[in-house]
């Protein structure tokens, strides 16, 4: 990246992390920071322009846009955390078993993964939602199901490489149990590539959540979520574009920050690539999906 060459990698990382931390804190402390109740409908204030009372104006139901954005940060980031954490947990278990044990189990698991990966992830998500029904719980479940496949493949690849290292052999000779080897020697070595990949994937997850909520299959309307806010604001594109731009800019900024951080962390080595862009499937755009 040009930026990290000009400013130095450490500085870029610290600036990006600080910005992300600020956004996260804004989400956590939304109840204290938000000037109004995000769901308080007040038709006497509908479609107000930005003022001191409503810094970003109000929407068609008179709800404070800034408060909704702040609470939206909360919704999006907590859902993302839930999804990514579950995926990592599932993938660590299945991926390391497949990678460490190898053989038939590995083969079967990887063929299943290949089949799932061969289908566009966003369509797969919509199909699964069409089976399980519309709602944020279903969306989270669907995204975990699909995303963990990507993570499983990634971790399995890393474990397969690590397994052949001499220190693992040494540990085996010393009589360590497979479980101990996994906890002591393999998982700590997975962490640094995993952190990079997770950072890059968070951007995708946020985009998938907002895209699904935008088309009305994810987080439902009264809950302040950025994608759902854009969906509500779309009818006012011509008269009040800020209703659409405000959540849009938030999505873009957060995704961009995570992507930049991931790329900077990864440096120029092959690890920068998102796991969706593995050799098997060179390109993946919208979330998912989209």
């Amino acid at each position: 990246m040009l930026m990290s060459r000009l400013l130095g990698k450490q500085l870029v990382i610290s600036v990006l992390t600080t910005l992300l931390a600020l956004i996260t804190l804004a989400g956590i402390f939304a109840p204290f920071l938000a000037p109004h109740d995000p769901n308080l409908v007040d038709l006497s204030h509908k479609l107000n322009s930005p003022s001191l009372e409503f810094p970003l104006g109000t929407d068609q139901l008179g709800r404070c846009v800034l408060s909704r954005l702040l609470y939206g940060t909360r919704v999006t980031l907590s859902l993302t955390l839930l999804i990514v954490a579950s995926c990592v947990a599932i993938a660590l278990i299945i991926g390391s078993i497949a990678g460490y044990v190898g053989g038939l189990i590995d083969n079967i698991l990887m063929r299943v993964c290949d089949t799932i990966l061969s289908f566009p992830s966003f369509i797969l998500a919509i199909c699964l939602i069409s089976i399980w029904g519309v709602g944020w719980q279903q969306m989270v479940f669907v995204l975990i199901t699909i995303q963990s496949v990507y993570y499983t493949r990634f971790i399995r690849g890393l474990v397969t490489n690590l397994r052949q290292q001499n220190y693992i052999l040494a540990a085996k000779v010393c009589g360590s149990s497979p479980f101990l080897i996994m906890i002591r020697h393999i998982i700590p070595n997975l962490l640094s590539p995993l952190v990079i990949v997770v950072t890059l994937e968070i951007g995708w997850v946020i985009m998938d959540i907002s895209a699904l909520s935008f088309i009305g299959l994810g987080v439902q309307s009264p809950t302040p979520e950025w994608g759902a806010m854009i969906n509500e604001g779309k009818s006012f594109l011509l008269s009040h574009p800020r209703l659409l731009l405000a959540p849009g800019i938030m999505i873009f900024c957060v995704v961009a920050l995570f992507n930049l951080l991931g790329e900077t962390l990864g440096g120029k080595k092959g690890t920068t690539k998102s796991i969706r862009k593995s050799k098997k499937e060179p390109v993946e755009g919208l979330g998912g999906t989209q």
């Binding site: 040009l2 519309v134 994608g227 854009i230 995704v255 499937e281 390109v283």
Partner: protein, 318 residues
């Protein structure tokens, strides 16, 4: 001639894959927590009693054994009969005839735009590595990865259609209606393709045959056009083939925003109402498009690199 045999072989290999997907699409209906008969009744506004459920089960053939249902459904598919929509009560095939061309035009158009734009971009950024143009492409790639499609669509509508009134907003009447949706779909692709091409070119430029061509006194244009591009474009071809399915997927959102009557919107409507025959048909079409996209990519690959047809499978070459 060898290419011809290769294409036939690949076509034959498609048959089991497509059969597999028909089975999955059929299974989809069985996996639902809601009984299709009840779903049918609820969208038809009929009160589900024991009697009506049994009647509908019989009408939809749900009282027959699983395998018989599948074979029956498959037989109907062979006659291009995709079933009847629960909601509109119109045969799905009738809707598809009208809607599929719209989506296909949109997807193919954006693929063409993406390829036409990303080839010059990729060449330029490979030739001027780490110069201004390269950084511009990098920025574009970054934007493509961070900007959600629906946001891009609205930005385009707002700035291009509303502020400057260059292209019409919604509908499908003229070619101009397709410009903004195709650009929306193409941007993400341009970002990835130009990066893929750039990296491929940089790798190919190190090959001995490039040195030889340079030694023969070939200019940049001839070198690129005749030798390097042919070698470096292969990952882009693979990606484009895989993306055909993804483009169809992307139309779900884009058609919604630009109010285009394509299959994406039809599918989304069906998901809201649990209109299973429509969902099944969509999944099937997506799978076929996806397999076809890969097939076309492989054939183009084989044309670009004749070694592939001679040695049979791709793995041996790589």
């Amino acid at each position: 001639m060898k290419l011809f045999v290769y294409v036939w072989k690949r076509l034959a290999m498609m048959v089991p894959v497509i059969l597999g997907t028909t089975f999955v699409a059929f299974l989809l209906l069985r996996l639902t927590p809601v009984d299709p008969a009840r779903a049918y009744l609820s969208v038809s506004n009929i009160i589900p009693t024991e009697e009506t459920i049994n009647l509908v089960r019989h009408q939809l053939g749900l009282d027959q054994p699983f395998w018989l249902q599948y074979v029956h459904w498959l037989w109907q598919l062979c006659h291009l009969n995709f079933g009847i929509s629960f909601i509109s009560k119109i045969p799905v095939s009738q809707e598809l005839v009208v809607r599929l061309p719209v989506t296909a035009t949109l997807a193919v158009l954006s693929l063409i735009i993406a390829i036409l734009v990303s080839i010059p971009l990729g060449i330029a950024s490979a030739l001027h590595k780490n110069k201004f143009i390269d950084h511009c492409c990098r920025l574009l790639a970054f934007l493509g990865a961070s900007l959600p499609q629906f946001l891009l669509a609205y930005l385009l509508i707002y700035f291009v259609s509303v502020k400057f009134d260059l292209f019409p907003l919604q509908g499908t009447e003229t070619w101009q209606h397709f410009v903004l949706p195709s650009i929306t779909l193409a941007l993400g692709l341009i970002a990835t393709y130009s990066r893929l091409l750039r990296n491929g070119l940089l790798e190919s430029l190190e090959e001995p045959f490039v040195l030889y061509a340079k030694a023969r006194g070939l200019g940049t244009v001839a070198l690129m056009g005749r030798h390097v591009l042919r070698h470096a474009i292969r990952p882009v071809v693979t990606a484009a083939g895989m993306n055909l399915g993804k483009l169809f997927a992307g139309t779900v959102i884009v058609e919604q925003i630009f109010a285009m009557p394509g299959i994406g919107g039809y599918f989304l409507e069906a998901v809201y109402h649990r209109d299973y025959p429509v969902i099944q048909s969509f999944v099937l079409i997506m799978a076929i498009v996806f397999v076809l996209g890969n097939l076309i990519a492989d054939v183009v690959q084989a044309y670009l690199d004749p070694r592939l047809t001679q040695q049979g499978t791709r793995k041996q070459v790589e």
